[in-house]
């Protein structure tokens, strides 16, 4: 059993939209991801997804509104809800979601990451 330091783990990678697994519990994963620019519209059929902003601002576009999530804030996107993460500046996010969650949900394209690195 070892503690995890978020800043130390974040220092280990620099690419965007490529989540790393930094914790596992109750069949859920704790992931860290760096964002910059636009992701893709997608939804997750059976997984609710938590986005906690560690640094920067995450602009979560939904079909009916946009939510700006700042450092120290989180948003839960329920299963089935279409969303598109956007970050104008580099933004660091902690994700909490079931181990089954695929980053692009119901969409598969060049951004899809099937095998995530564990840090």
């Amino acid at each position: 059993m070892e503690k995890v330091n978020l800043a130390q783990k974040l220092s280990l990678f620099n690419d965007y939209y490529n989540p790393r697994i930094v914790g596992e519990l109750n069949n859920q994963h704790v992931k860290l991801v760096k964002l910059k620019g636009e992701f893709v519209w997608h939804s997750h059929e059976v997984e609710d997804e938590l986005f906690l902003v560690i640094k920067g601002t995450l602009r979560m576009e939904l079909r009916d509104k946009t939510i700006h999530i700042n450092e120290g804030e989180f948003l839960v996107v329920p299963r089935g809800v279409e969303h598109k993460p956007v970050a104008d500046e580099e933004t660091h996010i902690l994700l909490f979601e079931p181990a089954t969650t695929l980053n692009t949900g119901d969409v598969e394209n060049e951004l899809t990451r099937k095998q995530l690195e564990k840090l």
Copy 2:
């Protein structure tokens, strides 16, 4: 769907070892709790528990060692592992754990909180 600001939620209560629910997803709860002083030795039979330190230092006593968890760090305590949280100064924690988790686990005493407030 609304974002949650951790500092704003933490400003709504001042008692210790009384977790509040601030988010729900995938049958898991996101809780906030303020600690000061010693909690009790306990374990959770079927729940792994994540402690993310928002402010202060959490001293997690285990039977074979003690782990100091500082701001920006988290620890996962697996099910079945006895632990005793201690905070010398006021410390703020984000908990992530199954909705079934009782704060004192297998122990029931005056610190047990069966009905948690949702903020």
